[in-house]
């Protein structure tokens, strides 16, 4: 048994500095990772899952530290090992990959150089340059990237998110680690890229017999790759077991709620919503090309963000625009909001031409179309009180300040916050609460169209489910038509009447939600559907097959 166990964390607690919201970041956490298996560590933000992984390599923030417990790796206790020993382990026998590959790579060094560095650091005596170069290229090829020679010479900014994460993985593989710590490695990526990266991690793990500790908040990912699952909440392990035990027969209520929160598991749009009539918002033939200058001697780069897109939105209808990053879906949303001007095309709203409005007339039109942005941290002015942010819109249209503030408080209560929130600043709220504030701000003007630009993408799954539920309720109460921009088909499935799939600025397919899911006609839509994490476990008929196979 012991030679199977690679990493054993026993009863570890990490103390937080005084003044934090709890005395320990993690408390009495025990878990093991065996050779040749993937253990998923699941929890919401703030559950201490990242702290646990960072504690293994002793990469904890200042003024926090392992207060008690032991961490043994290959039978040696590394909780009390000295710094040189730890340095040898980091990137050697234990490597780590991070959530955001762009910030984890040095922007000023070529990626080949960065991979080479991790080889040279851990190899004594230093290998020859040719040997290092050959090894770098082998590693780059090993993570499924084409043309390793050219790729080794590129800088991080020249690569896509998926390519960067592959480079990070290549770097982590450089010294044949026995244990890989992956901290939300796919959270910043598109579903299709996520699928590829997860497949890559799984392949490398199987080839090398590595132990992998994969941190995620998404049970879909767990269902796809994990052998065993550890669920954490508020710094404690609430449940662990094999993936089948935990997913099919969760014992803890919190685990149950997390699994239930996986989007796509239920539909918020039930029955016929009786949407008929003329489109309220009608966009025809929209085009937008971004031209970036590349310096004096290079031709300017053209990006056709939106190409000849037509989109109709009826009153009370919810249309989801689904696509990967760079598909132009956000640009389309901003064109409709008139935050950017299209090159050609027209947008009619309630029969009036939206694009020809100027000045005061445009301002009057704006109140009918409101937007909720993706990042609730960037979407609120850090220096403006929440109540003022919500009441600001109605006041700008002439509502007396007192009345607007009373309305703002009512709205705050409606979106599930306390009325006293009105006199506080945004930084006092969590991400989910801020997104509720943003929704209240958008609805304060009683719009008839709400554009939700990745409005739930930055939130934890359980919070995501609550916010989606809130949006579904509010659209009935306020007769809202919604344009719901998302990269996640599961989310779209829950809320949308109709789904529009975009790729490289063009619409590849559109239709009723049911139809897209059951009978996709375009290959790209099918690829997106296949890439949904945990599809076998959570979505539709596939689940039964998986069950039959495992039985």
């Amino acid at each position: 048994m012991t030679d199977k166990t690679l990493l054993a964390i026993e009863n570890v607690s990490i103390s937080l500095p005084p003044g934090a919201d709890r005395p320990f970041a993690i408390e009495g956490v025990s878990l093991t990772v065996n050779r040749n298996e993937i253990v998923c560590l699941v929890g919401e933000s703030g559950s201490g899952k990242s702290m646990t992984a960072h504690a293994i390599l002793r990469l904890l923030p200042d003024r926090t530290g392992v207060a008690q417990g032991s961490i043994s790796f290959n039978g040696n206790d590394i909780a009390k090992a000295d710094e040189p020993t730890m340095r040898k382990l980091r990137g050697g026998a234990i490597s780590m990959i991070f959530q955001e590959p762009l910030s984890a790579l040095n922007p000023l060094a070529r990626v080949g150089q960065q991979i080479a560095e991790s080889i040279i650091t851990h190899t004594k005596p230093a290998p020859s340059r040719e040997a290092v170069d050959a090894r770098v290229q082998e590693l780059i090829r090993g993570v499924g990237l084409p043309d390793p020679v050219a790729l080794a010479r590129s800088f991080p900014f020249q690569l896509s998110g998926g390519q960067r994460q592959r480079i990070m993985i290549a770097m982590a593989m450089a010294n044949n680690p026995a244990l890989l710590l992956a901290d939300e490695p796919t959270t910043a990526l598109d579903v299709t890229t996520q699928k590829q990266i997860l497949a890559l991690v799984k392949k490398l793990q199987a080839e090398r017999g590595m132990g992998v500790l994969l941190i995620t908040h998404d049970f879909g990912v767990v269902a796809d790759v994990a052998d065993r699952v550890v669920v954490m909440r508020n710094g404690r392990v609430v449940e662990q077991g094999t993936v089948d035990e935990v997913l099919r027969n969760p014992k803890d209520d919190y685990t149950k709620s997390l699994i239930a929160a996986v989007p796509g598991a239920r539909s918020l749009t039930r029955g016929d919503r009786k949407i008929t009539g003329e489109p309220l918002l009608d966009a025809v033939g929209l085009n937008k090309t971004f031209i970036t200058k590349q310096g004096m001697f290079l031709p300017p780069r053209r990006t056709d963000a939106v190409q000849n897109i037509s989109l109709g939105l009826k009153a009370r209808e919810t249309v989801a625009i689904v696509g990967e990053s760079g598909s132009g879906k956000s640009t389309l949303g901003r064109l409709i909001m008139r935050l950017i001007e299209p090159d050609t095309g027209s947008v009619h709203f309630g029969g009036k031409d939206l694009l020809s409005q100027r000045g005061e007339r445009l301002r009057q039109m704006r109140r009918k179309i409101q937007i909720v942005f993706q990042d609730p941290f960037a979407a609120l002015d850090p220096r403006q009180k929440v109540g003022d942010a919500i009441a600001g819109g109605p006041i700008a249209y002439g509502t007396p300040a007192k009345e607007a503030m009373a309305d703002a408080k009512r709205l705050l209560a409606r979106v599930g916050l306390q009325e006293s929130a009105a006199s506080r600043y945004p930084h006092e709220f969590s991400g989910g609460q801020r997104q509720r504030i943003c929704i209240a701000r958008a609805l304060a003007l009683k719009p008839s169209v709400l554009v939700a630009d990745e409005a739930v993408s930055a939130l934890d799954v359980s919070v995501q489910a609550q916010v989606l539920q809130l949006l579904a309720e509010l659209r009935e109460e306020m007769n809202l038509a919604m344009i719901f921009i998302t990269h996640d088909l599961r989310v779209a499935a829950e809320i949308a009447d109709r789904i529009v799939v975009m790729r490289r600025g063009e619409i590849v397919e559109q239709g009723e939600t049911q139809m897209i899911f059951q009978n996709p006609s375009d290959a790209y839509t099918r690829a997106l559907l296949d890439a949904i994490p945990g599809r076998a476990m959570f979505a539709g008929p596939g689940a039964r097959q998986a069950e039959a196979a495992s039985a």
Binding site: M337, L339, R363, Q364, R366, R367, I369, Q370, I371, F373, Q374, D375, A378, A379, L380, D381, P382, R383, Q384, G392, G393, A396, Y397, C438, R441, A442, L445
Partner: protein, 277 residues
């Protein structure tokens, strides 16, 4: 705001600067009581070295009290430093904000104008303006304001361009807030920190320009100033060092103090540095 103040109070060099600056301000405010006589009056024999009878810092070649000159000169230097910086802030922030917020053609025009001013050597333009308009304190302030706004405009423009695309600003536009409200209530408060820092450093350079103008005899002839004292004493520097050294030290200390305060503000208002404290 309180936390900013607290972290400034813990900034050692910033506090040194603040103390020196406060001393200069107190000297300037209390000059009429410390030296009730006109600093242009002869109060003793000419060429008296420092620590002579009744003359702490000696007298100049016409028997005027150097100490009185420095105290009264502090008033002029500080007034000119602050008001001309305010002038350049008004010009620079207005132009930078308009260019950064509206972008496109407006930005092009505004930036070409800014570049025009940046390519003309600032000090020569100031000399030209004062020489043409006449050596009055208001003209000196105007001239200094005119030559020192371009960096502020560039900085404001950059901050506005950065914030213009931020989601909370776009949200305010979608909320139907008028452009002026968006600029003054949403963008400016979030852009103000670096502008304050640069502005505080501009006070120091304004004092230097004023001193240089007065040194060349282009200061207001009715007002005693440090630059004038050095300029007047330069011909006798080998016989009477104190006439130019003391006003020179006054300029050095004041400018240094303002720079230290500016650095301190930079460290405390910059979230990335101040969080480490």
């Amino acid at each position: 705001m309180m936390s900013t103040l607290k972290s400034f109070l813990r900034h050692p060099t910033g506090m040194i600067g603040l103390f020196v600056l406060l001393a200069v301000v107190i000297l300037a405010v209390s000059a009429p009581w410390l030296f009730p006589d006109d600093p242009w009056d002869m109060v003793g024999a000419p060429f008296q070295p420092p620590l002579s009878e009744g003359l702490w810092l000696g007298s100049d070649m016409l028997g005027r009290d150097v100490a009185a000159g420095i105290a009264h000169g502090a008033r002029i230097s500080l007034i000119i430093g602050v008001i001309s910086t305010l002038t350049s802030l008004v010009i620079g922030v207005t132009i930078g904000a308009t260019a950064g917020y509206f972008g496109g053609k407006v930005d092009e025009v505004m930036m070409r104008i800014t570049e025009l001013f940046q390519t003309i050597p600032g000090f020569i333009l100031a000399i030209l303006l004062v020489a043409t308009l006449g050596p009055k304190i208001s003209n000196v302030i105007f001239a200094i304001g005119i030559v020192s706004w371009p960096p502020l405009a560039r900085l404001t423009r950059a901050e506005f361009m950065r914030l213009r695309g931020r989601e909370f600003v776009q949200a305010a536009v979608c909320q139907g807030q008028r452009p002026l409200t968006v600029v003054l209530r949403r963008i400016l408060p979030n852009a103000i920190s670096p502008i304050i820092v640069t502005g505080s450093l501009a006070v120091a350079s304004a004092i230097l320009i004023e001193s240089a103008l007065s040194f060349m005899g282009l200061g207001d002839p009715n007002l005693m100033s440090w630059g004038f004292m050095i300029g007047a004493a330069r011909t006798v520097i080998r016989q009477a060092w104190w006439m130019s050294v003391f006003p020179g030290l006054a300029i050095l200390l004041t400018v240094l103090a303002i720079n230290l305060v500016g650095e301190g503000l930079n460290d405390t208002l910059n979230p990335r540095i101040s969080r480490k404290r």
